[in-house]
């Protein structure tokens, strides 16, 4: 069973959001990394770039496939996880920790309320894998 931490917000595209003041940290869920398999390459945007909600901000590649990753909330990139360039496997080993992808300054912090709770996301993935 995939790990779904209680304190995060989730999207139906399998990203998680951790709120930190008016900023948010974003990555992909345990369920997503498990479905992808071994992550071998992560392409991330540059600091300063701005994204609308649900816009693709980069891509995650496994041996077999490329998947876009979407930011569930609008904002400006303030930091990216540079270490993923050399250690993309952190997305597999620690998706909610060292495998984080971007930190954004939220344009509209209220947006997180529209995301799924941990319980809702868990139900969503259960339905999806049935």
């Amino acid at each position: 069973m995939a790990n779904v931490p209680e304190d995060l917000h989730y999207s139906k595209d399998h990203e998680w959001v951790r709120v930190d003041g008016n900023q948010a940290i974003i990555g992909i869920t345990d369920y997503a990394q498990d479905s992808l398999g071994d992550v071998v390459y992560v392409e991330l945007p540059k600091a300063g770039e701005e994204f609308a909600a649900n816009e693709p901000f980069g891509s995650v590649e496994s041996v077999k496939a490329v998947s876009e990753v979407f930011t569930p909330i609008a904002g400006e990139i303030v930091q990216i996880n540079e270490s993923l360039a050399d250690e993309p496997e952190k997305v597999n080993s620690d998706p909610y920790g060292d495998g984080w992808m971007i930190r954004v300054k939220m344009s509209n912090p209220g947006e997180v309320d529209s995301l799924l709770t941990a319980a809702e996301y868990e139900d969503f993935t259960k339905a999806e894998s049935e």
């Binding site: 398999g37 071994d38 071998v40 390459y41 392409e43 891509s59 041996v63 077999k64």
Partner: protein
């Protein structure tokens, strides 16, 4: 699971593609390739008939020997690539790709013109397991009395594995030493489980079950063509660097004239191997760019788990086909630098 030519096939097992790939290079990997098609050719004209429809020279085979070859169109392009097994002077077994089995079968029948042969599509009679890697022989030897070290590369013997009669062939599609075992379809599960058990699966150096994704990355590192990617009915054998299976002097065969003509004229485009030199992974069907011009396409592009590089095959005009040539690949709108390199990308040391 994915649909692969009508078969439900695992892309990967729980260990994951990279581990499966590495274990096959360092110890052993087991692949269920029962989806491959088998066509049985019997009769006094078996060799003459197969020699007419394939590009390599079947007359060179002795009993117990196999050959890599292609079914060719009159244009010298590829209906399919396959292995021909010589069971006897009047009995050959053709092992073809899963997704092309029906097409091949129709093609073979349509080119049958009075030769004394019985043709049978026996694909569903056989299972095929490929045990590949440096430990393949020692594992399989525990399950058979056949002296495996006497079976040379591209040769085979009849024998029993775990009491199951079959064909044991020193062939494979990974760039490693290894065996392919053909047996009755209903014994697949027994053989699969027994080989895993004897091969100490579940231990760090034991045999790992491997899925389609590892099969693809292993064959790509070894620079082996995959039908539908490097070769199809639009690519000639010469363009695909498969001149070594075009025996133009063996006598007439379908496509011989076109291939002889192309050999004299020279090919205009060629299959090449490349290595990505930027960050990024080239993927199938992406455009190859030289000096701002779209000059070719990637036929297979992937990370190479053992070499730890991102590699691929592409067709490019011959003027850009030399090792060292700098190219770019259009990776979803971003130009990624790459360089043509010699193949195979990977060659085992012994």
């Amino acid at each position: 699971m994915v649909d692969f030519g009508g078969w439900d096939m695992p892309v990967q097992y729980p260990a994951g593609t990279i581990e499966e790939h590495l274990r096959t290079r360092t110890h052993a990997g087991l692949f269920d390739v029962s989806h491959m098609g088998e066509i049985d050719v019997r009769g006094t004209d078996a060799i003459a008939f197969v020699n007419k429809i394939t590009s390599n020279d079947v007359t060179k085979l002795v009993d117990g020997q196999a050959q890599y070859t292609a079914l060719t169109t009159p244009q010298g392009t590829v209906v399919d690539d396959l292995l021909v097994y010589r069971l006897a002077a009047d009995h050959l077994l053709l092992v073809v790709n899963a997704s092309t089995t029906d097409k091949d079968w129709e093609w073979i029948k349509s080119n049958h013109a009075g030769e004394s042969v019985d043709l049978n599509n026996v694909s569903s009679d056989y299972c095929q397991l490929a045990l590949q890697g440096p430990d393949a022989q020692s594992i399989l030897q525990k399950l058979t009395d056949l002296p495996l070290d006497e079976i040379k590369y591209y040769h085979f013997r009849h024998g029993a594995v775990d009491g199951v009669h079959g064909i044991i062939s020193r062939t494979g599609y990974t760039g490693e030493d290894g065996f392919e075992v053909y047996a009755a379809a209903d014994r697949a599960e027994q053989l699969w489980n027994k080989i895993l058990e004897i091969g100490n699966t579940g231990t760090p150096t034991g045999v790992l079950p491997c899925g389609l994704a590892a099969r693809n990355t292993l064959r790509l590192e070894a620079a082996l063509a995959l039908y539908g990617h490097e070769i199809d009915e639009t690519t000639t054998l010469l363009e695909a660097n498969l001149g070594w299976i075009c025996k133009l002097d063996k006598g007439d065969f379908i496509g011989r004239e076109a291939l002889a003509h192309q050999k004299t004229e020279g090919v205009k485009r060629k299959l090449v191997g490349f290595e990505v030199t930027d960050r990024g992974i080239a993927r199938d069907d992406q455009d190859v760019i030289v000096d701002g011009e779209r000059v070719g396409k990637v036929t297979s592009g992937s990370p190479a788990p053992f070499l730890k590089k991102n590699i691929g095959f592409a067709y490019v005009p011959v003027e850009y086909a030399n090792p060292g040539q700098q190219i770019h690949v259009d990776v979803r709108g971003k130009l990624v630098a790459a360089q043509i390199i010699k193949t195979p990308f990977y060659k085992r040391t012994k």
